[in-house]
Symmetry: C2
Subunit: 343 residues, 2 copies
């Protein structure tokens, strides 16, 4: 059986390019390999997720350098996706089940690490949502905001990369709690989304602000209680000068830094002392135990229209390299999804 | 009555020099000013504390820039000290009481902000200790280690500026809890103190390490669980690469940065995400509610010889400017104290 795949040619330094990946057609036997009947599942991939953290996996790293390993050059990329089970050697899954979790960038995958797969029970929402609002980015936003930020009603919240998969949810969670929320993004279209669709109190295009410190002062004259950090670098430096006493910074990502050979220096860390700030990094898998609780909150909120969600969908594995690379140029508007197959 | 004083001539940029201060003799009436009988106290100063945070108060700042105001050029410096009450308009204090808290760099002070004064009850320890182990630096070490670091027995702990007033205590608290503790300092004499007097497991002279990342790797092959941050800059960058998953960084000070016009950039903050680190800044006054509990632990520990304490004592207000400036060159060995008068 033919199996179209997106292969990483070699490890990457600097900005990734489409040509760092190759779309080829290999072949896969449509059954579980011999001996793997005790655990693996064979799936048909439906939707793939483009996530900023994947940039790190393109870099040549040493084991232990990070919580995720590098991709293997010459092999398909892997990442979060939604898939349909064709054959299961794991009693937790049966043929016909929909699952989300780590799969391959290809039409069909044999997944041996089934502990990283979640069975999908709610199918009254678009299945692609399990790459975003109901998947890893959703639990990232949920845990990052409610668990890491220790938010209180009435506090001031700033979200960078606010129209992305995680940012758009954080802003809405903060509004639901009764916070004042400002987001930044990199285009007029995204800023309009933040204000008119996601209900942020204010939003601005960081590319049009010559002085980020002054921009933040304008939106937060009394300072920032909570910063949900998605970008790093100069933005973090400007935020540090605008934080309030006892502020919290949930460090989710630093997308502005991932393609630099040498990350930018952050100069204003003495504010961490003088303002008694807490900066805390986190990753979604540490909060997967909250997934059930999270779904109980967010699925009704989606169905009642209390939470809105915007995807940027491209069709076909051929489009996947450009979609992934586009994340780092900010080309996506909303959560970047690749459709491999709709059923 | 004559009153010798240490005056700040003008705000300072760069490294402070002795000549930024002037020792003069003014005069003070030895009684409380008219109308202040409802709260002020007149004290005779005995011991003054030289603390790194005082550098920030020498800089010209705007209100709200920090949790402490700048010094007033032309007036005496203020800071922590131990004093004897000569006359009291505050019912909490009476003539003859010993107190510690914020006072002036002078022989006699009228203190109106008596809410920042603590009455000294235990006088079976040297009174100068209330500028250090039993005062602000002591509660800094106690709260920073036990409250901010969330330490557990068996964890690995790294302390920079480890022979200073705070560092020497943090290391000993960590040893008492059963941690593996390494400290760094800037001279062989200090390194010897750490290993032979304070009981650190290991210690090194950071000035002799061409590669701080490699030095830390040598002492922490499995990584650092807790970093007690006193210095900032390049050291923090090296530490970030050596932290373990879920490590904690208590940010107490960044003395290497206080005299720079532009603070150094810290480049390795993406480790905060990948290692899920918590970095938390704190200041002692936020933990003064723990002072009683702290004394109950530390006074017996001192008397039983379980905790050792080293001071670097200079005599006379004339020596105060050099002592304060010396902090930033690392000239002090142990807690820097200025004796104004011994009784």
């Amino acid at each position: 059986m033919r199996n179209k795949q997106v292969i990483l040619r070699d490890t990457v330094s600097g900005f990734p390019k489409e040509s760092d990946m190759l779309v080829t057609t290999g072949s896969t036997e449509l059954k579980l390999p011999e001996g793997s009947s005790s655990g693996a599942v064979l799936v048909k991939n439906l939707y793939l997720s483009c996530d900023p953290y994947m940039r790190g996996r393109m870099t040549k790293r040493h084991p232990g350098d990070s919580y995720v390993n590098s991709f293997n050059p010459g092999s398909p990329l892997t990442g979060y996706g939604v898939a349909k089970v064709l054959e299961s050697g794991d009693p937790k899954f049966k043929q016909g089940d929909f699952v989300w979790g780590i799969t391959g960038w290809e039409e069909y995958s044999v997944i041996t690490a089934t502990e990283a797969l979640f069975k999908i029970h709610n199918t009254d929402v678009p299945l692609s949502y399990y790459t975003g609002i109901l998947g890893m980015p959703g639990i990232t936003a949920y845990a990052g905001f409610y668990e890491v930020c220790s938010p209180k009603k009435g506090e001031t919240v700033y979200v960078s990369a606010a129209s992305g998969a995680v940012g758009q949810l954080v802003g809405q969670f903060a509004k639901l709690l009764g916070c004042y929320v400002v987001g930044s993004a990199g285009s007029k279209e995204k800023v309009d989304l933040l204000k008119n669709k996601f209900g942020f109190d204010e939003a601005f295009n960081y590319k049009e602000e010559p002085n980020l410190v002054a921009a933040l002062k304008r939106y937060f004259p009394e300072g920032i209680d909570i910063y949900f950090e998605n970008v790093g670098g100069k933005m973090l430096d400007a935020v540090l000068l605008n934080m309030r006493i006892h502020g919290r910074i949930a460090v989710c990502g630093m997308i502005s830094q991932y393609n630099l050979e040498q990350p930018e220096g952050v100069h204003n860390l003495t504010s961490v002392i003088s303002k008694q700030l807490r900066m805390e990094g986190f990753v979604a898998p540490s909060y997967y135990h909250l997934y059930g609780k999270f779904l109980e909150m967010v699925v009704p909120a989606i169905n009642e229209g209390k939470i809105t969600y915007v995807e940027d969908v491209v069709e076909g594995l051929e489009s996947a390299p450009a979609a992934l690379v586009g994340l780092f140029a900010g080309r996506n508007v909303g959560k970047q999804v690749v459709v491999v197959s709709r059923e």
